[in-house]
């Protein structure tokens, strides 16, 4: 995993920044549940696009990768959406 991390520093840096901004915003807008819900959906979409973009760059994009990122994004979006209801 270390090897992998070193070869995709920029991609992981973008992901970490995205996660950091999302976490900060999510707790900053409390107790506004609507804003929290909206930011969760944006975060799920961001992760999906991040995954696709990163795989395009490595030229390893295929339908299985797309469905995997779609499924994981759907899961995190669902978890965050439901907890804020």
């Amino acid at each position: 995993m270390k090897f992998n991390f070193n070869h995709h520093k920029l991609a992981y840096a973008v992901l970490l920044i995205g996660i950091g901004i999302f976490l900060f915003y999510f707790f900053a807008v409390w107790p506004n549940r609507v804003a929290q819900r909206l930011s969760s959906l944006i975060f799920a979409v961001f992760y999906f696009l991040w995954g696709i973009t990163t795989h395009i760059k490595t030229s390893r994009l295929n339908s299985k990768v797309i469905t995997e990122y779609f499924a994981v994004s759907l899961l995190i979006g669902l978890l965050l959406f439901l907890i804020t209801i």
Partner: protein, 316 residues
């Protein structure tokens, strides 16, 4: 024959577990639990567990004895912290008015009776109607609502972070306040409702009536517990109306805690599988152009952080 079955079963179970967790040729070198279709099944499990927690409200005997929001909010604390916020802004302290407190109590009881959570009741009754019914004549009035909070400080923090609620608390037009803290069953779960009614009186008579109900520093200390007609414990502050009826049954955990537990169980299972999968892939030196596991682990870590630190409580 029976002997064969006994031997076969553990082998089959082991094979299934290996297939689910261990990357091998059989699962295309990716733990079966991490395949997209498995993740989609997890989505269904998450939806089902959420629905089960929500459906518990239809089983009052179960939900009222297990689930609910137990809080230690008192009207006295609400008053003190509200005035603290006003003093911090250089404003005068609000004085307790019994009519406003009666209006707040009526509003809270109405929400429990008609099972709604809004400034306006299902039959279109607005907060001002409760204030008028209590006999309070006002120049300006406002209402803040809160539910499902564990303590007063957290609730005040939520109100102060909301521009509209903050505007009520630090409004220099308001001179008096009524507070009701009521426990009851709202939409299937035991909870505590807090109603703040703000007002500025118009007439001299109104002022006089309000003055008689002022909370003096000494009166604030006079908290008495009396038994109401319904034999529920009622907390009364001298000169004000505060009626927190205790929860019928002490609750074990909140619906939010139960939902969090289900969700965290799902995340822990996926995270553990991701870590194991990465470990095996690395040890076997399977060539991968891009390891998706680290990205998944990072976002699941963020979701775990949110689930752990997500706070209950709604304001209106």
């Amino acid at each position: 024959m029976p002997r064969r079955r006994k031997r076969h079963q553990p082998a089959k179970l082991g094979s299934t577990l290996t297939h689910l967790f261990r990357p091998s040729k059989r699962n295309y070198y990716r733990s079966k639990l991490l395949h997209p279709e498995s993740i989609l099944y997890f989505c269904l499990i998450v939806l089902a567990s959420f629905s089960i927690v929500r459906a518990l409200r239809f089983f009052p005997s179960l939900s009222s004895s297990i689930l609910g929001y137990a809080s230690n909010i008192t009207a006295e604390d609400v008053l003190i912290q509200t005035n603290q916020q006003r003093v911090n802004q250089g404003l005068s302290e609000l004085k307790i008015n019994e009519k406003l407190s009666q209006a707040a109590l009526a509003k809270g009881q109405d929400m429990f009776t008609d099972q709604y959570w809004s400034h306006t009741s299902p039959d279109g009754m607005e907060p001002w109607s409760f204030i008028k019914e209590s006999g309070y004549v006002y120049k300006a009035a406002g209402e803040n609502l809160a539910r499902d909070f564990m303590d007063t400080t957290e609730m005040m923090e939520a109100w102060m972070k909301s521009p509209t609620h903050r505007a009520n608390i630090v409004n220099n037009k308001f001179e008096e306040i009524g507070i009701a803290v009521i426990n009851g069953n709202l939409q299937g779960f035991e909870t505590t409702l807090v109603v703040q009614m703000f007002g500025s009186p118009t007439t001299v008579a109104n002022n006089k009536a309000g003055q008689q109900q002022l909370l003096t520093d000494s009166a604030r200390q006079e908290v008495a517990s009396v038994k109401s007609a319904t034999d529920q414990e009622t907390q009364v502050l001298a000169g004000s109306v505060l009626l927190p009826n205790p929860l019928d049954n002490p609750v074990l955990l909140t619906p939010l805690h139960l939902t969090k537990a289900f969700f965290l169980a799902v995340i822990i299972l996926i995270t553990a599988t991701l870590i194991y999968d990465s470990f095996i892939v690395r040890n076997r030196q399977i060539v991968m152009a891009f390891n998706k596991n680290l990205g998944h682990l990072l976002v699941l870590g963020a979701v775990t952080f949110i689930l752990i630190f997500f706070r209950s409580g709604l304001i209106q």
